[in-house]
Each structure stands twice: as structure tokens, then as C-alpha cells.
Symmetry: C2
Subunit: 483 residues, 2 copies
């Protein structure tokens, strides 16, 4: 019996070694033989039941040591590809049906044209990520981390980071907290998911949201089983005086420092009204302080949380001040919530990289975080001023609002032009969003104003892309329509 | 009117500046004044309605510029602490009730004595984490990452890492996949959570699990709403021949390479039986390949997934080969599952740090991962041999099993001694687990054997702690009981 007949009794005699495209030299002989045999079985070239040549014979044909072939056979038997029985030699396992093709790639996602200018809200200027300083912080963190830090770790997050954050948030945002009250999470979305779980378990059935915000967050809350009535947003922020009129709400999600995406700050009386509502109703305020550090005309307004740390859950994130890719955010919790949140987080077992946490701790403690925020604030303020000045000249009928803080501005458009402007921008290779997707009426759709507008993230483009982006933006502004 | 009477009309006149412990020099004057006023209001030292001195007066008393004080007042008004009205000066907001105490620390968790020896299963030797090489990979990753990598990113994970893993898993574990089929997750637990969601949405009601395993995983599946009958584990691994007898199961969770925690490898016929069951029933196999790289007596047995990539979801992790603290794991998916898993992951928005993903990609591509695994395999094999040799001498009646692979061994104990041995170990400062917590009977509790045993993670101690740990382990072994 020749080897080829033994391997493929039904077909024309193949040359075994050539057939397998074996790499016949180098240290990977055994692995190569195993791989080749697996492939031959998988693709059906060696059908079920095929009897293989003896290890001695194949070794001779391939110029390999017999042990190498015997080892390969033994491994493939252990893996279930082959069966070896006393007396009947080694055969391809009878029940393994061949798979025809190589695993196909996932269905290709529609190839999107890479946009030239990205002005969608949500992302800071990633070109300015302080790579060198971050790496230096990573080096210091890795050099000093205890071995324990590399283990499964504390569900609440590394104490080093929680300590650095307690200090930073107190100093910069007026947050009144302690390391034991801070919980690290993998982004705001993760923190909000945890809080929704905790609130549901506490029999909260509804959480008010602002009438402008991210549908992603509304979906999350809806999917968690919460009803989400809306409080209206006007030029002084969310109408927290409406909270006491809403039936059965146990919490409210607010963006006090800089309403998202309209950019207005919550007025002092409404801050107090929110706290009063929480105290009188026993409700909780979820404060999404996503970009509180970026306030241009004066010092940042401190977090609402400072007014009552027992009734406000404060959420902060590294996504705007540094980069979303870090997936690091934090909550400062009322004391009574800590056990519930810790349990929910432990149960979910979704932690953030310990090394990344330690690096951020080091980055904050060294002052690099403050330095980066200051430097970006200057840069973003300059961009904002350029945006306002350029639009004043090129499109003086477009009113620009939401300018005191944050990474984006709202450009109010003539009625009925929002969709066509977004479309015209897309044709110019510019990604920019209208304000409509952010609008949410809850149960009272009739009460919403219908101002057409663009939400323009002037922070996102790199410095080199900025002037082109600004020019392209001016080009798609509608001509003045006499009203 | 003196300043002290204005601030605290009811009490004895305090010296304002001393009272506030203000830092009266340096650049932080304004921030210090704001912080001091917040604290004074929060603690009730400045009660609601208290009228503050004019900014001119306070500035004079404190030796500050009047603008600094006016700015501080304005900020506190914006934040809701103070109210300022024309003609009536600046007062503490009437509705802000004081909070008595500083935020207390979270209820202290029970102070656990730091154990001298940790032999609980699940963690590798963290002292050997290749810090230097990891940092070098992080540097290369950071130096070459595109700016986009720092953004919100691809829900499936960075393509760089998925590409490196597709190559590595094919080469080392016989996994048949492609980058488009790999999904990065934040640990096995996260991946299993995603799969449970996907299976539930596909109307799967039950998933079989092995009769030995982690209760954490069983809890997760139960909480996801899945029924979890058990397949028995014996000395040839899980009895996959039982799968076809179980009613209505749509999936099975297996540890084929190295049953957890008993340490046996799934026998060839049972591998094939599992695949046959999946093909005939349309069910899925979830292959938890948590430590497949650590096989000592021969080359690693390739993943079950290779036998049928369309019916097996392969799970791997960096937790055993590198460190759990990285929170990086991966799944290789059947093609038909990719859209569902992608949607579930996108919805959850729980991504891993992009920098950590890129660093691991770089670490694998540079060969450092292979090198580390090889080096740890040698180290763990030496430990294992020392464990076996030492026990053979000091406790010859203790049978040691599960030795061919992995980070732990099973020490079979005389009947009725498991609990007392675990307790005796704890008294010696040694954390070690009995096998009982891993045992799970599903619906058929009567069929489980009751072998007393310890699960000993010989990989976890550092080299310096190992000989002491081994000695302590020998000291708690029960004396031979004549049976």
C-alpha cells in the first residue's frame, strides 16, 4: 500500500507532503504537520474514516523523525480529529463532518467614507492626548504598583485612583466626598447602568430626564425598566421646578454645569429647587458632570453635588478631559448607596484595567491632569472665539449659544433648514449633528419648541483640520431668509 | 455693623478669617475663600439667611483684593450657596439646610488578616508579571496608535488586538478563526454575560454546565434567566454523552482543555460527542479555555473550537497567562452570532481601554506573550513537580490529581477531613479552598460523588513564598486514617 492510496483511497493519488504544503524545515515541523492535518480534515480533503499511513511510513516520506509524526498523531487523537485503535491503525474520526470553507469574514459593514471633518459632539481633540505624559505616568505606576494590584482587585476601583479623585474633585469641582465614596466605572454609560439597577432594586419606577440629551442614555434607562418623563430645558437650564409636578419619580438625571447639548448652565434658583425636591421627596439627583472643567468665561461653577452629598450622585469622566478610549469614569456616592452599588458592581464583575486606573491616579497626583485641562481649556476657548467671530462675519444671522463652557456650541438656524444643512455638510465630508436627535418630549410633546439648530463640536478637529472645518461649516450655513 | 455680627448674628462674634482657616497668601486665595465659605455653610456655621459682609468690607478684613471676594461671592451665588439681591446684600441661601458632619467613610469592611499564603485557585503568580516588557509594549503602542484609537472605538474591540489574537490562537490553540470573528471583552465573566443575553434573545432557556465549576458563573447564568442542568464530570472530563438526555438545552459551558477545577482533560470521544450533540441539536458549545497554554507533560491540546468553529464559542483570557488586573479576554465566534454579540456589546457600551488593548496587541505581536507563557510554564511545572514530590514524601496517602495542566492541583483527602483541613490552613494564615464549593449537582444531587479534596493553586505564591507555602500545606495534611 502506498501512502497516497492510504490517505485518499477514493481519489487520484495525491503527493501527501505537497498536498499539505508542509514546511519541512525549521523548528515548527510538528506544529506544521498538526496544522496541515487539521486543515486537510476540516476541508474534507481527508474524509471521515480515511486511514492514515503509519507514523513510520509518513515520517520516511516526509523526511521527519518518526517521533515527530507519532506525537502529531497522538495530539490529533487527543483533540478528537483522529482515532487510533490497536490493530486498525490511525483513521480520521468518523463523526467529524468536514466544513467546506475557511471561516468567512463577518458581513462587511457598509464602507463609510472617512469624513474630512468630524464635528459630532462627544469627543475631545484626540490629537492632543498627552501621550508622553501618560506614558511617564504609566511607567511610574507600573514601577510602584504592588503585585496585588494586578489581581482581580477591588470592585469599587483602585484606592490610589479613588484617593486622587477625591482630592481633585474637591479641589476643582467642589465635590464633597471621600475615597471610600468613589466608585470607578468603565465610562458614564456603565455608571448609569449600575445606578439604574440599584434604583430599580430600590423600587424606583421613574427617573426624570432633561428634554435635551442623548438618546443612548434614554434607551439605557428605558431598557432598565424605568419610565422617563421629561423636565423642560430653557435658557436657564432644566426646569427643576417641574420635578414636584411629575408623578412617582424617584430620581432625575441632570447636566447642571453645562446642559447637554444646549450648553446652558443651571441657574442658581433651579439648583436649589432640585436639591429641595430631592430632600422633600427622598429622591436622588444624578449629576452628569461630563465636561465641568471646560468653562471659559469664568472659573468653573462647582458641582451641584456639593450642596447635598447625600442626595446627589456625582458622575465624572476622563472621556472629555483626556480621551474616551481610556474607558474610565467615576461616581461620588451618597453614603447610603455605597453597599448597593458595590454589590451591583461586584455582581457584574466589570472592572477597569488596574494598570490604567493606577496610571490615571499617578497622572492626576503628578499635576499632569490639571495641566492638560488648563492647556485644553485655552485651546478650546480660542477655537470657540474663532467660531463666533467667523460666523459673525460670514453668517451674521446665525445665533450662536451654549458658549460659556464645554466642547460644543449650538448654532440656531432659520426654521426648516436643519435637515438640509446637515445633508449639505455631509456632502462636503463634514459630520455634524442637528439638535433634533437630542430633543425629547416625554409625555408632553406639544410643549417643545422647534428651533432648528446645529450642535457643533468645535473641540474635536485637530489643530491642522480646524480652519478647514470652520471654512466648510461657514459654506453650509443657510443664506439669510427674511422671516 | 461689624463683620462678625453680620455673619453670625446669633452667636458670639467669631473672627471671620481665623474661623475659616483661610490660607491668606499664594495663588489659591479665591478658591480657598470659596471652599471655606462652602464648608461654613455646609456645617451650619453660617446658617440659612445669614447676611454676609459686603465684598468691600470682607476684602478689607482679610487683606484681599475686593474683586477676589466679589468673584467668590458670584461663584457661590451661581452654585446656589448664596443669594444676592439688589439692596439686601448677599445672604446664605435660605433653603440649603446644613449637613452636620463630614461625609463619613463607608462602613468599614471587616478587617481581614492578610494571609501569609494564598493558594486559592484563579490567580497566576503576579510577582512574575513582565512589567518591563509590558511597559515597552505600551510605549510602542502609544507611539504608533492613530488618534482615532483614543476615541469611543469599535464595540468589538481594536482590530490590532483581534488580528494579533487570531494569529496567536490559531498558532497556539488550534482555534480556527479570523479577526472579524473575535470580540474583546473585559474578562470571561463579561463575555459570558454577553453570550447569556444573546442566547436568551434567541429563545434558549437552558444551558448545561459541568458538575464542577465556579458558582460565580452559575449565578451569572441563573440571573440571566437560564436554567442550568449539570453534566457529570469524571476522570475523563465532562460526560458530554449526557447532553442528548438533557431536556431543552440550547448550549453547554465546558472547560475541555483542563476541567475547572478538577484538572482533567476532556477525552477524545467526549470531544467528538460534544460536537455531535451541537450539530444534531443545533446547540452551542461555550468553550472556556482559561488556561489552555499551561500544559506540562506534552504540548497543549488544541481547542475544541477547531473541530467546529460554527458550533463552538471559544473564550480565552489574559487573566491566567498575564494578570487578571488587565481585564482583557476574548471570544472567537461562529459567524452567525457576530451581529447579535456586536449589538449586545454596543448596547452595553462596555469597552476595554483602547490603550490596554493596543498594548496587548503589541505584546503578542512582538513575541513577548509567547515568551512569558513559556517561561511561566517552566516555572509552574517545577512548582507542580515539587508539590508532588513533597507530598509523596510527607503525606503519601494524599492522592494528587489534575496535574497535567493548569495552575492548580486537586489533593484528595480522607473522607470527612476537607473542612477541618481548610480550617487548619486558615489558622496557619493559608488561604486554600476545598473542592465542595465547586460541586454542583443540578437536578440530580444524588449522583455526585463525595470525595473530600483541596484545590491548591500552586502557581499563585511568589517564588519567595513558595517553599513556606508548601511546608505549611504539608503541615495541615491529615494523618493517614486507616480506612
Amino acid at each position: 500500500m502506498t501512502k497516497s492510496r492510504a490517505i485518499s483511497p477514493a481519489g487520484p493519488p495525491p503527493t501527501f507532503s505537497a498536498d499539505l504544503h508542509l514546511e519541512l524545515h525549521g523548528p515548527g515541523l510538528r506544529a506544521g504537520l498538526i496544522q496541515a492535518l487539521r486543515d486537510a480534515i476540516r476541508t474534507g480533503r481527508l474524509p471521515s474514516g480515511t486511514r492514515l499511513p503509519s507514523s513510520r511510513q509518513l515520517a520516511g516520506d516526509l523526511g521527519m523523525a518518526r517521533n515527530t509524526v507519532a506525537d502529531a498523531y497522538a495530539e490529533l487523537v487527543a483533540e478528537g480529529w483522529l482515532v487510533g485503535r490497536q490493530g486498525s491503525g490511525t483513521r480520521v474520526a468518523s463523526r467529524i463532518e468536514p466544513r467546506k470553507a475557511r471561516p468567512a469574514a463577518a458581513p462587511a459593514r457598509p464602507a463609510r467614507r472617512h469624513p474630512r471633518y468630524r464635528l459630532l459632539p462627544g469627543t475631545p481633540d484626540l490629537a492632543e492626548f498627552p501621550r508622553k505624559q501618560w506614558l511617564a505616568a504609566a511607567r511610574r505606576a507600573l514601577n510602584t504598583a504592588p503585585n496585588d494590584a494586578l489581581g482581580y482587585g477591588d470592585a469599587l476601583g483602585r484606592l490610589e485612583l479613588r484617593t486622587a479623585l477625591a482630592d481633585y474633585l474637591g479641589r476643582v469641582r467642589g465635590v464633597y466626598t471621600a475615597p471610600e465614596r468613589i466608585v470607578i466605572c468603565a465610562g458614564f454609560h456603565h455608571g448609569l447602568t449600575l445606578m439604574a439597577q440599584v434604583l430599580k432594586a430600590r423600587r424606583v419606577r421613574a427617573m426624570a430626564v432633561e428634554s435635551y440629551g442623548l438618546d443612548l442614555h434614554r434607551d439605557l434607562l428605558n431598557n432598565a425598566g424605568l419610565r422617563i418623563p421629561a423636565v423642560h430645558v430653557d435658557e436657564r437650564g432644566a426646569r427643576t421646578d417641574e420635578l414636584s409636578e411629575l408623578r412617582g419619580i424617584g430620581a432625575v438625571l441632570l447636566t447642571p454645569a453645562h446642559q447637554y447639548p444646549t450648553g446652558v448652565a443651571l441657574s442658581p434658583d433651579r439648583r436649589v429647587a432640585a436639591i429641595d425636591w430631592a430632600r422633600q421627596s427622598g429622591g436622588l439627583i444624578l449629576e452628569d458632570d461630563y465636561d465641568g472643567e471646560f468653562r471659559y468665561d469664568r472659573q468653573p461653577v462647582g458641582a451641584l453635588q456639593g450642596l447635598d452629598p447625600e442626595r446627589v450622585v456625582y458622575f465624572g469622566t476622563a472621556s472629555k478631559a483626556l480621551a474616551p478610549g481610556l474607558r474610565l469614569a467615576w461616581m461620588a456616592l451618597p453614603e447610603e448607596l455605597i453597599p448597593d452599588v458595590a454589590a451591583a458592581k461586584l455582581h457584574a464583575d466589570l472592572l477597569s484595567s488596574a494598570l490604567e486606573q493606577l496610571t490615571l491616579a499617578e497622572f492626576i497626583a503628578s499635576g499632569a491632569y490639571d495641566h492638560h485641562v488648563r492647556s485644553m481649556r485655552t485651546r478650546y476657548r480660542r477655537r470657540r472665539d474663532q467660531l463666533v467671530a467667523t460666523l459673525a462675519q460670514r453668517a451674521p444671522h446665525v445665533r450662536v449659544t451654549g458658549l460659556a463652557a464645554g466642547l460644543q456650541a449650538v448654532l440656531e438656524l432659520p426654521r426648516g433648514t436643519e435637515r438640509s444643512v446637515v445633508r449639505a455638510a455631509a456632502l462636503q465630508g463634514m459630520e455634524v449633528s442637528g439638535i433634533t436627535p437630542f430633543r425629547y418630549a416625554g409625555d408632553a410633546p406639544s410643549r417643545l419648541p422647534e428651533q432648528d439648530a446645529l450642535v457643533v463640536n468645535y473641540a474635536a478637529p485637530s489643530d491642522s483640520a480646524w480652519s478647514g472645518a470652520l471654512e466648510a461649516l461657514c459654506n453650509v450655513m443657510p443664506q439669510k431668509v427674511p422671516s
